[in-house]
Symmetry: D2
């Protein structure tokens, strides 16, 4: 399959590499240059512009936020303007529900096809093709993307025919992860101040009721104070909570823990945590308790 891939950050570069490995012809593009070297060695082609990457059957986008995707999609010579009719735009970024709705309409108006397929997993999972893909869009289009999903992930979850629903579900998932970070942080501040060893505590939790990757991964980072380098930086977590709250406001759903997380991210970033992993949120309770 001839695929364009836009966005070669920590996540995108691993995903693009796996698409090459699966035998696709992949043309890669990144706004800031110098990110493609390793991929070119693995067999990818470099695009000199967004339009250059929009000549195939599909184009995949994996960028940091709404603003970046908006520029790629709606800019002059952008995706909407240059993608062939019937070709597919697969949006893997974690973006707002509102932008996903806008893209759904714009691609339809342009005779192109659109799928939202955000992914769960950190950079190591992207490199290992172990992402979980949460996809939504017309069934036939989804079927045409099967090998792509299989190349980048190990599980695909289909959430119906409306792309924005996949984005909403992805945001809700990031909200749940941030909730685990915050609540583990509070529990660890409590038992830690009483002298309990945090690694032993985490081992107990994850051997029993809390035996899920989310507790192991983030609990380990909090217990070990390992917030650099950031696998997912605090401002990205802040963005996702903002988008979750915006979706909740649009739907009329109050989410008090999400509101708390919003304030926590603001505090983390305003007090020096801008470059830390979002799991550094889990240290605020300890800090507030004087530890």
């Amino acid at each position: 399959m001839k695929i364009g891939f836009l966005g070669l950050g920590q996540m995108g570069s691993g995903m693009a590499a796996n698409l090459v490995k699966a035998g696709n012809h992949v043309t890669v593009y990144n706004r800031s240059p110098g990110k493609a070297a390793a991929l070119l060695e693995q067999g990818a082609t470099e695009a000199k512009s967004v339009a250059d990457a929009c000549h195939g059957e599909a184009v995949i986008t994996m960028v940091a936020d709404d603003k970046a995707l908006q520029a790629l999609a709606f800019g002059e010579h952008g995706i909407i303007a240059t993608l062939p009719k019937n070709a597919i735009h697969i949006s893997c970024s974690t973006i707002s529900v509102a932008l996903s709705e806008k893209l759904t309409e714009a691609h339809e108006a342009a005779g192109q096809r659109f799928i939202a397929a955000p992914v769960f997993g950190r950079p190591d999972a992207a490199a290992a093709a172990k992402l979980a893909v949460v996809a939504a869009g017309p069934a036939e289009t989804l079927a045409d993307c099967t090998q792509i999903f299989e190349a980048i992930g190990h599980r695909t979850f289909i959430l119906g025919d409306k792309p924005p629903i996949a984005n909403l579900v992805k945001l809700s998932g990031n909200f749940l992860i941030a909730s685990v970070i915050e609540t583990l942080g509070e529990a660890m501040a409590l038992v830690g101040k009483a002298g309990v060893d945090l690694h032993a505590y985490l081992d107990m939790l994850t051997s029993t009721l809390f035996s899920a990757p989310v507790y192991k991964t983030y609990g380990g980072l909090i217990a070990g104070n390992k917030f650099e380098p950031a696998g997912f930086a605090a401002p990205l977590g802040q963005k996702d909570i903002r988008l979750t709250l915006a979706a909740g406001e649009h739907l009329g759903v109050p989410m008090p823990v999400a509101s708390l997380l919003r304030d926590r991210f603001l505090t983390l970033i305003a007090t020096g945590g801008e470059n830390l992993d979002w799991s550094a949120l889990g240290k605020l309770a300890a800090k507030d308790s004087g530890q």
Copy 2:
């Protein structure tokens, strides 16, 4: 081993049955009568008073709250007054850190031994001997309890020589469970109002990052609106959050999500949820969003 067992509720009756099954001589007691019938058939003996159950090498208590345990332990002809020197009181109830400290001192003064060994698991796990036991106390005493822990659970976690630490850790665990209920409830209110099927959503979560029993169990109850009969009633959840907050206050640890859970339990109980399972907390976000 000659063991007294006090408290034959949903949890205690399963635990006592497993102790009988493991070959111990178990003398059972419950404040309100009529709870012992099945256990007597299985081979237990019935005590007519607390003191009657305190003649063996160990007595186990599994009751609803501080008040109930205080009555058993400090009442006239209670455990402190009647347990032989060197015999062991194993407290499995979820009680306050403060009461655990008081019991530690009182048993030491009386020449008796004391272990705090609260358990994680719902009534079905108690019946199946699949509880997780979180124990703390002097190493030698813990060693003498090994077969008891193995009879009632499938994992034992030793948390040092100070019994109250086990109670603190147990409370923190219940706080984390309640946090999962609340945050899943918020996420489900969000995606549910957008039309996502809650069971499919839960399946997605628990197949990936959130593949832990706590998400499966409580997510299933929330998605299915199954809050009766209560496996663990709302007022018990409220009590555990109260005790968590009290421990946090004593240690000087602010826990904002625990504070939120406190208000949620108050709302749940004040608006008709007194007899529901504590997982009914997970419906308040949907209710507040007009669903």
Copy 3:
């Protein structure tokens, strides 16, 4: 002075009437027709379009939200396009800090002058010329507006030369009012459930430490359950908290009570309070307590 007045809602119609009364030539405009009748009788002139009201020395805008003001200001034949050079746009609406920044720049680029002058007070204060005017902008321009501020209010507070600061301060004030509504609501839920008469309670508060109009006005509405007709409807309150939080996010300031108010407004509106006065927020605590 020749003044255009755009926005004849509950607030604007009172303000425009006072400008007429003070001897100004006032040309009024409202997007939806039929609001000008009373003003015309008092001596105002009706504009048929936005541009029609932009021929004088100043134009005043008093509309519901950013969207409405954006349409007036940036629309084809809007204020920016038609106001004479050196004429003043006085923006009295409660709008976002971001829009105020955008207007500051756009008017400067167009050679016009811009003042932000949001007001405190409900419709009765607008009618009685008893608003408090919070104004910011270049000193000379402010001086040229003195008689306008005096015509509509009884106090003017000058907050420096940057218009957006006045909008920020106005938003912070509405946040403080909403905080009074929420906290009075919680206090009244507490003492009310114990049987204390709410009017007597309010009388005690407002005779002592809390002797401010904000407690008298909103306390009276809450105690008396008088939420219709809305002097300031719940969705407007929700909007102001949203703008406060947005300003806080931009500046990096976490505001936990504002976050709570956001959730409260969502709950109020999602559960049937869309047309009530924003003081109906003060009944949610009573509702959550089963009263």
Copy 4:
């Protein structure tokens, strides 16, 4: 009138002095010695024990917390044991509703009379006889206390015949004051980070909607960073929020802002604010925003 006065702290010493000034025979007592010197010069008599102060027609207590009052009232040779039949115990301390209920019953059983009369005001108001007295108890007993209330305060509010109601109302008032501190702190963190002068801001607020002593007093302390010496120390504020929440829990009333205040006080005290005035709570928002 022959009056005993127990508790000569910052508040009590001013109140006792005013009772002397009003012509009463006042016998004063303080647990720790050396507090009575000034009062003896003004004409008071010193009691060597609690019992020594309980020979008159009334005894007034003004102490820091439940524990101190419990010791005075229920200790050996305490108030209950030594006060003559029909004499009145006027409790002015801010104590729990539960202790007030216990005192009501104990005094009745002992044939004594009991009034709860907590006061609003800081030490300067106590010295100036400008406290607001919030009293509850049997009408006839209240009538017998009229001159006492008039000697220490400038307004008396009667809240019915059940003493604990006065304590509940007093707690709710302190909750409202703490709410003003927190919300003013959030608003000031917001506008302050944008460069607004906090004193000018406060002047604007208190000249308009927020023209109440509570905004002037606490706003001035926050704007001026004047938290030492403490007029009312942070741990006392923490105690009052704890008692408010306990009353809310007993009545089944969730109070989310009170819960937030609880966490704020814990943070303040755990991070070095133990000896500061409770208004230091109003600086936490600025701190969390990196100011």
